[in-house]
Amino acid sequence: MLMPPSFRLGTLVTLVLAGLIATAGCAQTSVLRKADFAPQAPGPARVLLMPLDVELSELTAGGMLEPRADWTDQAKTHVRVALAAALQGKHTALISYSPPARDSEQAKVDQQLLMLHDLVAGTILLNSFVALPTKKGRFDWSLGEGVKQLQERANADYALFILFRDSYASGGRVALMVAGALVGAIVPGGRQFGSASLVDLRGGDIVWFNHLSSEAGDLRTPEAVRTAIESLLTELPL
């Protein structure tokens, strides 16, 4: 009640994927950025890539998402490669996140930060559909000064959070979609969702947020991942 779980990013993404927020066949992206954001000092920006939140599933005939470990593993590799390539063109150095020792104080601090980001990003996503009156025409979200420890630890200027959910219809599901069309019912097929947030590590402000949702594209292939990452990062303000 004090902290409703419905606003977590993952939950919203499930709803998006379940077809509640209908999207056209082509990929749609939706960029939000902080109005008064000015990039940090000249020189290549150092971007810390936070742990990837990626899950690929198979959509069974019954409409259940069956997670696929093999596809997810491949997709994560593709995402890292595609990110490095996309940011190279943007005068940016990508730094990988080195996880602190298990059960250490540092690990707890990082966990809190990841959970806070998840909650804030979920709220941003919800607001992009139905904005609170206090948030209309504003983009002023933050994770607070707790991010400064990351700035020092990783010697980075920004942190980049990436999330992907993707599902592919199984053979049975495709058959069901065809049958549904025959009897006039719409059976949602697989859907892709991705989001990216860029956090300024000087003070924790989320300076840019983008999400894309598409019924096309297959994150199991490096080409599709490159396309998805490129459209996700098009207007990255670096």
Partner: protein, 392 residues
């Protein structure tokens, strides 16, 4: 419905069944091997991946009981049962006041504190944990997943047969959520199998076979007292407890072990769990399920450890229940608690509040003053001092 439409659906239904068969169909599987992770391209790996994510959530969960002694104790019992599989099992003790333990396919074992409050000794705990290990070894989750998947395909097809409506996506989302919730609820056959396997593990580890059925007998007593089976998650999908008790008793009879030499482990169990009991009893009363909680308290009284604390919580139960005549019972229980050395300091505050309400000013003042004397750093000192001023 037209013949063509029915025909198409029937044809599709058949094709799905065939398709599901490619990635494994419902039915028995060989037992899991120690130290093994499923191959990446299998559906089992997919389930592991998802349960790995759930595990990451568990690691940070607010409900996690951090007490390292208790964790080590439970781990030790599990390892005695699991032997070669010991290293594959990760135990998470969660602060949830209901009787439950569960096992995920990737080796995550959840133990709820409501279970710890409801068993008498190490042997009883071991039989429940053994049952969970049974699910793990037999890979019941993956069987269950295949089962659910086959069923859910059928559900959506029958949804198409009955007129499709504009709420299609919403309805299927609801159905999906409901199905996901039941993924780890095993079939009754799976439960029977886990009972037998778990029993064997615990007997082999030297635990008294006669303790196995007692856990369920206690649960039946609690269920019958409350006349409400809703909180008994274990009963929802498990075989009728009466049947299970009979089975376990039959196993115990057959078991070659001489009960006289077998481990019951009451002292060790008490030593390990007693420090947490105050917290568990507090959580128990939060359920506001007084009839069931009374059965739990009665069993603890019978065991006879820490009577001062038990009488205090007996008073708390009466106070919160607030039935006709409970006020007198509350006072009596708090006063009884104070006859024992281990009554919590809060007993004085509780008595003070009681007398404060009934206008017995002198008694209230005495009780509040005792509370403040014994709890010098009371975090509600300002409030208690305010009550004392009102009493003047």
């Amino acid at each position: 419905m037209s013949l063509a439409r029915t025909g198409v659906l029937v044809a599709l239904l058949l094709s799905t069944t065939a398709c599901a068969a490619q990635r494994g169909s419902p039915g028995a599987l060989p037992d899991i091997q120690p130290g093994r992770r499923p191959d990446l391209e299998t559906e089992e790996a997919g389930l592991w991946m998802q349960t790995d994510r759930l595990e990451a959530d568990l690691k940070t969960s607010g409900a996690l009981v951090a007490d390292s002694a208790l964790n080590a104790y439970v781990r030790n019992i599990v390892c005695r049962l699991a032997e070669a599989y010991c290293a594959d099992i990760r135990i998470y003790i969660l602060r949830v006041p209901y009787f439950n333990a569960s096992m995920m396919p990737n080796g995550v074992m959840q133990v709820w504190t409501g279970l710890i409050l409801r068993v008498d000794n190490e042997a009883q705990l071991a039989y429940v944990l053994g049952h969970e290990l049974g699910h793990y070894l037999r890979r019941h989750s993956i069987q269950r997943w295949r089962d659910v998947r086959a069923k859910s395909a059928f559900l959506e097809f029958s949804g198409l047969l009955t007129a499709p409506t504009g709420f299609g996506p919403l309805a299927s989302l609801g159905a999906q959520l409901a199905l996901v919730g039941s993924i780890f609820a095993f079939s009754r056959d799976n439960e029977r199998e886990a009972d037998e396997l778990g029993f064997g593990l615990a007997v082999k580890a030297g635990y008294d076979p006669r303790e196995a059925s007692k856990v369920w007998e206690a649960l039946v007593e609690e269920r019958d007292a409350t006349k409400d089976s809703a909180p008994f998650i274990f009963f929802a999908t498990h075989p009728a407890p009466e049947e299970r008790i009979e089975n376990l008793k039959a196993f115990a009879k057959k078991s070659a072990l001489d009960g006289g030499h077998a481990i019951i482990g009451r002292e060790q169990f008490l030593a390990q769990t007693r420090p947490l009991r105050t917290m568990l009893l507090r959580d128990e009363l939060r359920r506001r399920e007084f009839t069931g909680s009374q059965v739990v308290l009665d069993r603890l009284f019978e065991a006879g450890t820490g009577l001062g604390e038990l009488y205090f919580f007996q008073g708390e139960l009466y106070r919160l229940r607030d039935n006709e005549g409970d006020r007198e019972k509350t006072t009596a229980a708090y006063q009884k608690a104070l006859e024992y050395g281990d009554a919590p300091v809060e007993t004085h505050r509780a008595l003070g509040l009681l007398f404060f309400k009934t206008g017995e000013k002198e008694k209230a003042r005495l009780a509040f003053e005792r509370y403040l004397q014994q709890r010098v750093n009371a975090e509600d000192r300002e409030m208690i001092e305010a009550y004392l001023r009102q009493l003047e």
